[in-house]
């Protein structure tokens, strides 16, 4: 019953945000916050909603893996590395420092930095398409940054995993899974690709099951479900049809995840204030890293500003990481920061032309007064 109402709320929100070309992710989270235990109290998280939320993030990570074709990535590894490097160094360390200053211990500061370093691929890519920016070289760099971040996510899931009582054994398991993925990614599509071409229920059922297999891996091998999901996606990324089959599952479960996540969060005042600070730092960080990346790769500060403005929005990955590994006030803070940066980020990306014009005018005035 609750799920149907949650779904209905999200359908309305999806339609409205589409109409006004606003990002839908913050809308789902805000609706969850309003209807949930911290707001009106109309919904409470239960076992079913938790399972759906978990399925949502696993589907998301599996889908990310599917879009990371090892062969295509390795062809562009230089570009991807150079595009993503400053973004990682600057944003991760900035948020880490602020989190430590705010009183978090190193583990939690590391989690907050992991969560808020990563931009929202969904919002960023959507705004590149909707704002018709795909002709620009800057947009390509933004896309490589997103790919770089997607790869780093896998690493961050492993590094944030708290159940590492025997670190060497844990890393060994992760390495074996990674090596297996690499070895099998060439054969698996040929071996089971045919299963996804059938006309009966097998393709959808099988795709759904494989996507959720990560949860089983976590139970049997204590490897984080999210990491396995990315690896499984990578392994099967050669099967084009699988992407089409899994997309509707991912859409439904992920939207419900955002909503149910919102329900479970109790925004504290402290968290909210910290969230505001983190949002400001997160926005400034991306603009700085964009400027440096653009200056470095395209020899232009203005290109850099474009890159920065396009990558401000945080979203699904931040929420996923804080959902999977967070517990205290960092959850409130990251949630608030995600809602703020996603809305401001979408706005900045849409108006980047105007902002660039005023920025270059300001720079001119500044240099003429010198």
């Amino acid at each position: 019953m609750d799920i149907a109402i949650a779904g209905l709320v999200c359908v309305v929100l999806a339609a409205i945000s589409k109409k006004f070309s606003l990002p839908s992710v913050p809308a789902y989270i805000l609706a969850g916050l309003i209807f949930g235990s911290g707001g009106l109290g109309l919904f409470t998280a239960d076992k079913v909603s938790d399972t759906i939320a978990e399925a949502g993030v696993i589907m998301l990570l599996f889908y990310i893996g599917l879009n990371l074709n090892p062969r295509e990535i390795s062809e562009k590894k230089g570009m991807i590395f150079h595009s993503g490097l400053y973004d990682f160094l600057i944003n991760f360390s900035l948020i880490y420092i602020i989190s430590v200053l705010a009183g978090f211990d190193h583990t939690r500061a590391f989690l907050v930095a992991s969560a808020l370093y990563i931009s929202s691929s969904a919002i960023v890519l959507q705004s590149l398409i909707e704002n018709r920016k795909l002709i620009y070289r800057e947009s390509e760099i933004v896309i490589w940054i997103m790919v770089f971040e997607d790869i780093v996510i896998a690493l961050l899931i492993v590094l944030n995993n708290p159940e590492t009582s025997d670190l060497i054994f844990f890393m060994l398991k992760v390495l074996i899974l990674t090596a297996l993925t690499y070895l099998l990614s060439g054969y698996m599509p040929k071996l089971i690709g045919g299963l996804f071409q059938r006309e009966d229920e097998v393709p959808a059922l099988f795709a759904f099951t494989v996507a959720l297999l990560g949860v089983a891996f976590e139970e049997f091998f204590q490897i984080p479900a999210g990491y396995t999901a990315i690896m499984l996606g990578l392994m099967l990324s050669g099967i084009k049809r699988l992407k089409e089959i899994i997309l509707p599952f991912k859409d439904v479960f992920l939207v419900l995840f955002f909503f149910f996540f919102g329900i479970s969060v109790n925004l504290s005042t402290n968290g909210l204030v910290l969230g505001l600070v983190l949002a400001a730092v997160a926005i400034a960080g991306k603009i700085i890293s964009g400027l440096i990346t653009g200056r470095h790769l395209l020899k232009s500060w203005l290109s850099g500003l474009e890159i920065g403005l396009d990558t401000v929005a945080r979203g699904e990955f931040s929420i996923f990481l804080i959902f999977a590994f967070g517990s205290g006030s960092e959850v409130s803070a990251v949630t608030a920061a995600v809602v703020i940066t996603s809305i401001i980020g979408a706005f900045l990306s849409k108006n980047s032309e105007k902002i660039k014009i005023s920025a270059s005018k300001m720079a001119e005035r500044f240099s003429s007064t010198q």
Binding site: L125, L128, I129, R132, I135, I143, D150
Partner: protein, 160 residues
């Protein structure tokens, strides 16, 4: 020089710079829509359009130099369920020469192998016209056939 690059999570991009320095970019999005950008050399901001696959096909046949004057337009139809089947339909306007003649009289099918599948007359459409239908000047006819049959039809029936 065409530059081709896969954009993860977005689609595939083709970029072309003309001799005069203008820029064209075509992006095939994952949702099957296609964005086309053009940017004049001296212009800072590109123009863009977003089109469907079908519209892209029409555009490509125009750019490909297929003659698409009104009387010789052709449309290709692909069927989702039958991937290797493509039907080409051609439209022609009936000239004075054919006025008053019937399909049967002209023995179109027998002489050329091509088939008339529809006739449009004064805004009304006759699908699968009967053999005794009398052509009138200005009728738009839709003809189906392979390349050879269409060539024959154009030569023997229309005399073009």
């Amino acid at each position: 020089m065409v530059r081709f690059i896969g954009l993860e999570g977005v689609g595939t991009k083709y970029e072309l710079e003309t001799k005069s320095g203008d820029k064209i970019a075509v992006i095939f999005l994952l949702n099957k829509r296609i964005q086309v950008y053009i940017q004049e050399k001296s212009c800072e901001k590109p123009c863009s359009i977003e089109i469907t696959e079908m519209e892209a096909k029409r555009l490509s046949s125009i750019l490909g130099g297929v003659p698409i004057e009104k009387e010789r337009e052709s449309v290709e139809i692909d069927f989702m369920g039958v991937p290797d089947l493509t039907l080409a339909m051609h439209t022609y306007t009936v000239s004075k020469k054919l006025h008053g003649k019937t399909i049967e009289e002209l023995a179109i099918r027998k002489r050329t192998g091509a088939n008339i599948v529809a006739v449009s007359r004064g805004g009304k459409t006759i699908i699968s016209p009967p053999p005794h239908l009398i052509f009138e000047e200005g009728d738009v006819i839709v003809v189906i056939g392979d390349k050879e049959q269409i060539e024959k039809f154009e030569k023997e029936i229309l005399g073009i």
